[in-house]
């Protein structure tokens, strides 16, 4: 009980920390804390495999990617340069709408409380599939993944492959650099070609 609230506080605090930091490196640290706390929360929900995955993939792989990119972009250039803020007054309406939506969501959830979690005690990591007592174990998850849910699993492979190709295309050397015009000034709005010409009356 108290574990949940502890983790909840950590989660919220780290999330707020993440989005409020000026430097992305601090944000990454906040996010790391957030992910670890979330992994712990997964364990409390009997999602053992997912808890491990959360640590390995999110905290390990994805956050490292962020760190790499931060290092790549800021090396020798100094801090990130920001352009002019084109939407200086967006913060107030954005926060207001967020709060309203959040309020409605909480209101909706509160209408129908789910009640306490059903009792559940896993006995072993490798039980019989379909046995409610092994729910959430690695074995349960693995059998489901390779039998009933095989197609989604294969789709994930496809998604990752597409993503790899996409990354190579976008960030790789396949893009001819000079044509993107490093120093080409951006046209102002008025100078740009309209995409849809207004028909002659």
């Amino acid at each position: 009980m108290s574990l949940f609230y502890l983790l909840a506080v950590i989660l919220i605090a780290s999330a707020i920390f993440t989005i409020t930091q000026k430097s992305p490196v601090y944000s990454v640290v906040g996010l790391l804390v957030n992910f670890l706390a979330l992994a712990a929360l997964y364990f409390t929900l009997n999602a053992e495999f997912l808890g491990v995955i959360q640590i390995v993939i999110y905290s390990g792989a994805i956050l490292m990617l962020f760190v790499f990119v931060i290092a790549l972009l800021s090396s020798g250039v100094g801090p990130f340069r920001a352009g002019p803020n084109r939407l200086p007054r967006i913060a107030a309406p954005a926060l207001l709408t967020t709060l309203v939506a959040f309020g409605f969501l909480i209101f909706g959830i509160a209408q129908r409380p789910f009640g306490p979690l059903p009792p559940h005690r896993p006995t072993s990591f490798l039980g019989n599939v379909g046995d409610p007592n092994v729910f959430g174990s690695v074995g349960d998850f693995g059998v489901a993944l390779f039998t009933v849910q095989l197609l989604p699993f294969e789709v994930t492979a496809f998604i990752l492959m597409v993503a790899v190709i996409g990354v190579v295309l976008i960030a790789g050397d396949a893009v001819p650099q000079p044509t993107l015009g490093r120093h080409r000034p951006q046209k102002r709005a008025a100078e740009r070609e309209p995409i849809l010409k207004a028909p002659a009356p």
Binding site: I12, S27, V69, A82, I109
Partner: protein, 101 residues
């Protein structure tokens, strides 16, 4: 040790909206991407909680899928950031307004 599932869902909602606020308010694309990751994780938390309620591991499979998508999204998103940085030298989502009508 019996926590009401509603609390998990509420926690997920809080995290989600923190992510939303981050996406809208921040201009650094890296932090925007991180905020998106927050939103993913909020959704994951809700899914895991529901799976636990219904004792149905389809929710777990779904989280697995979301993790994959998040990884792919992060990779592509960061690649875009790199490509944009090469072009504009500024790292600011407001600079990327080529879809202006």
């Amino acid at each position: 040790m019996s926590v009401d599932v509603t609390n998990y869902i509420a926690l997920s909602a809080v995290m989600f909206f923190i992510g939303v606020a981050g996406v809208i308010v921040r201009r650094n694309p890296l932090i925007v991407l991180m905020a998106i990751e927050l939103m993913f994780n909020a959704a994951n938390l809700a899914l895991v909680a529901f799976a636990r309620v219904w004792v149905n591991n389809a929710g777990h499979i779904f989280v697995f899928l979301v993790v994959t998508v998040a990884a792919a999204e992060a990779a592509i998103g960061l690649a875009i950031v790199v490509a944009v940085f090469r072009r504009a030298e500024n790292v600011d989502v407001d600079e990327v307004a080529g879809l202006h009508g």
